[in-house]
Point group: C2
Chain length 197, copies 2
């Protein structure tokens, strides 16, 4: 395959998928355009044909993850009904988004804030967490969830559990647990806990 033919097979979408894998493996800071060029098998100038640079790739990648997560908050199950049920809905759907967009959400979770895009992504994550903390506060005020755990702390632990799925979940038929099994388990543990009454 000539380099021209290779380049022609690349779309902004497939280039993004490769870039995300490299960012996760080497860290965003540790990734150069040279690394991206090698991983994608196309020249740097071909990459510049698609994007202005690696920060634009990062922006597109974390945007995809953030759009998935914020999209959950706009769904009917997150907008209507008792706060505790909306919270449970958001918990399940956030877990599903993480598994469906695994590399993008994994990258979002690892962003640490050295560039404008990273700081923007961290700020958006904080806004998302804040929206969930508000739901939690409302559910506690309704008397539907325990009020002995601070809402911000509970939100951190809830998403600590959800986000930890990114460390071992792999969407293959041979993975130890199916996506549905994982989402059910997260909801069961977060809302009902391990101990039987």
């Amino acid at each position: 395959m000539t380099s021209t033919a290779k380049r022609d097979t690349y779309t902004p979408e497939s280039l993004l998928a490769v870039a995300v894998e490299v960012f996760i493996e080497r860290g965003y800071d540790g990734t150069s355009m040279e690394h991206l060029s090698k991983a994608a098998g196309i020249s740097k100038s071909s990459i510049y044909h698609h994007v202005r640079g690696k920060e634009e790739l990062l922006h597109r990648a974390v945007s995809r993850a953030l759009n998935g997560l914020f999209g959950v908050l706009d769904e009917e199950g997150a907008r209507e009904g008792r706060a505790v049920d909306r919270l449970e809905y958001v918990t399940r759907r956030s877990t599903e988004v993480l598994m469906a967009d695994l590399p993008y959400v994994t990258l979002l979770l690892r962003v640490r804030g050295n560039t404008d895009t990273e700081r923007w992504a961290m700020e958006r994550r904080r806004q998302f967490d804040h929206r969930v903390a508000l739901l939690l506060t409302q559910a506690a005020a309704d008397g539907d969830i325990r009020s002995d755990v601070d809402a911000r702390l509970a939100t951190r632990l809830l998403f600590g559990m959800i986000n930890s799925v990114s460390e071992w979940y792999r969407p293959t038929a041979r993975g130890p647990h199916s996506g549905a099994e994982v989402a059910d388990a997260v909801v069961a543990m977060a809302f009902a806990g391990l101990r039987l009454p």
Copy 2:
């Protein structure tokens, strides 16, 4: 201060503390003896006076974390009583060990397995998780915890929640949550869940 005076103030313990911070910041792979020398403010030969190289520092650091975690399993609360209570004890104490030895456990959680020491640490972590999964299986067999979540999956989610504390907990008086508050919240969420009956 002369470099001799500086060197004399270093102990294996304080050198280890500096090395762990550098490993966490740069990644173990990305850390050279030069980086360690600069961060510690002592010459490379002074470091070699204490240790054979950076892998020995990694080994000492993750050993400290692993000894803390396995030590929990030897405590009376983890050995005696019903499995569900032993599991709850291990959950609380693992959270406390993480907060008490925060940088060491954080480093352990980030180890990825390119050297013998990293592979050994990952294997020891798996052994620890396996011990907890056995407790969980026993508690389910006793009818004390839910049996609709696979024990291995439940262990992963449980430690996903516990270990996520390393991402934001800082043991300062000005931290948003005290260590006791965090340990209580982890136990409450993991065993009783958020939703009130």
